[in-house]
């Protein structure tokens, strides 16, 4: 199970990357994709949508479960990963790469700092 150090995490198993342009990219962790099993569908949010931290904005379906994906920070959705429409399996094969889900322009970029660091998330995930 991988927990890249350059990312931040949430207790709802999203990972978050604050990019140089101030935009935040969001996906689900390796731990989360493993727990879900084969992902068969990703319901993406709408570009331009204003979202609040903790709000369910996307959903990931495997064969027998469906999980909401929560916005880790408040802001505006600026891009969604449309590759997932045809290749939902990217969430399983490349959770931290091609399997990213959406990008948010955060209202307050400093909010990212409040999220879990890799070590803390790892400890949390593995105690589940």
């Amino acid at each position: 199970m991988k927990y890249p150090d350059n990312l931040r995490y949430t207790k709802t198993h999203e990972w978050v990357l604050l990019e140089d342009d101030g935009i935040v990219t969001v996906g689900i962790s390796d731990y989360a994709q493993d727990a879900l099993g084969d992902v068969v569908f990703v319901e993406l949010p709408e570009v331009g949508e204003q979202v609040d931290a903790g709000e369910g904005v996307a959903a990931v379906e495997s064969v027998k479960t469906a999980s909401d994906i929560y916005a880790p920070v408040s802001g505006e959705i600026v891009e969604v990963n449309t590759d997932l429409t045809d290749q939902p399996e990217l969430l399983n094969t490349e959770p931290y790469g091609g399997g990213w889900i959406f990008r948010i322009r955060p209202d307050n970029p400093a909010d990212v700092e409040k999220l879990l660091e890799a070590s803390a998330y790892r400890e949390f995930a593995e105690s589940q």
């Binding site: 068969v40 569908f41 319901e43 959903a59 379906e61 495997s62 064969v63 027998k64 479960t65 469906a66 909401d68």
Partner: protein, 455 residues
């Protein structure tokens, strides 16, 4: 008569094994004051006694098998092969095919059913069935509202009044507003209100008129709404498929397809949609797939839409639907084939046109349904329809379904929330339906009886 196999010795041995002294002790968690109440029920009957009692009750009914009653349910002939196959105990006594390895029979039958409904409606995706036509429509409307993100429904007055009431019940529960598009000379008016997310038309409409719904579908799309078509499955043997005139969702009542009228149920509803809407679809869906040996098989799919996974966020709460009656529909369609279904439709249409001509020639009777009409039509009678329906019974004829006054020339359009009861108070409007079962003699007989009744 109960159906328990336990001998007293069995009960004793089993109680010992579970560590209880009596059957009543098994209910020790139930608060004492409410345990084992007196029940006021009739004394139990043996099977023979029950069937005798039931025959006595059945004798108080009159068969409507040769009737001219319509309005969603019609006395089409049910070929013997349909109930014979559906009565196979393996189908009858199974539950939802959650375990596909042991349920290939039903799963394949559903896959075939989905294909047939797709062919009839001209839409690529059909679900496995809904409860009935009216609830299928209500779910179709909710689907359209979810997809469009709007909370207003515009429904043609040409849609069956009971269906409109069901839509109203469902829509109001989620806070959506239901508005009625009036019929003008038997056709749905095209002026859509602002902010609609779902537009509904019916073809043939409740008066029996074949409406060209393409302009309504176009208007719906221009307004950013989805178009939902309510269709009669028999008519689709000859009439344009809703998918070909812009319907996003097609729904209807399956009873005419090999289901006995059974005093209104159980039958099945069908629902088909455009491919892009598949994840909004309520209910079961079966997909073809392969097993570990590469063998073709069938399985329930996209279950994450459903309540037992998605819970509060499910697309619908529907669980048990109408699998066995939908299976009867599929057997019927396969038994008739495209030619047979066409012949049923054509003969029903031909009978209706002969009958309409005969009846509207009676003094005081006027044909209210504008042409072209399919196999049902509405007459304005010189007497109240309920009275006529009752008087015709003396001639052994069931006909003249009372139609709500809102459809009459002087009738005010009632908004969905004000709809009169379907039996229609003192309306002089009556609906007549023909099927392939009616003979020339039946048509003559009804004409003669109606002349007498209206004399």
């Amino acid at each position: 008569m109960d159906y328990t196999p336990h001998t007293p010795q069995d009960v004793q041995a089993m109680l010992e094994r579970v560590g209880a002294k009596s059957l009543l002790e098994l209910f020790k968690d139930v608060p004492q004051p409410i345990l084992d109440p007196q029940l006021k029920l009739d004394p139990p009957l043996s099977e023979a006694e029950f069937m005798r009692h039931l025959r006595e009750l059945a004798a108080k009914n009159q068969s409507a098998a040769a009737s001219f009653l319509g309005g969603g349910i019609r006395p089409h002939y049910v070929p013997a092969v349909v109930p014979a196959l559906a009565a196979r105990a393996e189908f009858l006594t199974a539950y939802t095919p959650y375990q596909p390895e042991a349920s290939q029979g039903l799963l394949q039958a559903i896959f075939e059913y989905q294909t047939m409904i797709s062919e009839l409606t001209g839409l690529p995706v059909s679900n496995a069935s809904m409860y009935d036509g009216s609830s299928a429509l209500a779910e179709g409307v909710l689907l359209a509202l979810r997809e469009s993100g709007k909370m207003r429904v515009a429904i043609s007055q040409g849609v069956h009044p009971e269906y409109r009431r069901v839509v109203r019940t469902y829509a109001e529960a989620v806070g959506a507003e239901v508005l009625t598009l009036p019929l003008v000379e038997g056709r749905t008016a095209l002026e859509l209100p602002e902010g609609v997310g779902a537009v509904v038309g019916q073809n043939p409409n409740f008066l029996g008129t074949v409406e060209n719904l393409a302009p309504l579908a176009e208007a719906a799309h221009a307004a950013g709404a989805l178009f939902v078509a309510v269709v009669d499955p028999i008519s689709l043997a000859v009439l344009k498929a809703p998918g070909s005139y812009g319907a996003d969702v097609a729904v209807g009542e399956g009873q005419p397809l090999g289901n006995a009228m059974a005093y209104g149920g159980p039958h099945f509803g069908f629902m088909a949609v455009r491919s892009e809407l598949v994840r909004q679809l309520p209910g079961r869906l079966v997909s073809e797939t392969t097993d570990v040996e590469g063998k073709r098989g069938y399985i329930l799919t996209l279950q994450a839409r459903e309540q037992y996974i998605r819970r509060a966020k499910a697309k619908s709460n529907i669980t048990t639907n109408a699998q066995l009656t939908a299976l009867m529909g599929a057997v019927y369609l396969a038994a008739l084939g495209p030619q047979g279904l066409r012949e049923v439709a054509v003969r029903s249409v031909a009978n209706a046109h002969v009958l309409a001509e005969r009846l509207s020639a009676i003094p005081g009777v006027r044909l209210l349904t504008p042409a072209p009409f399919f196999n049902e039509f509405v007459l304005e009678l010189p007497k109240p329809a309920e009275e006529v329906r009752r008087a015709l019974l003396a001639y052994g004829i069931h006909a003249a379904t009372p139609v709500p006054a809102e459809y009459g020339p002087k009738g005010n359009l009632t908004q969905a929330h004000e709809l009169a009861r379907p039996e229609g108070n003192l309306t002089h409007l009556a609906l007549f339906a023909c099927t392939e079962q009616h003979t020339e003699a039946d048509l003559e007989g009804l004409e003669a009886a109606l002349r007498e009744v209206l004399r």
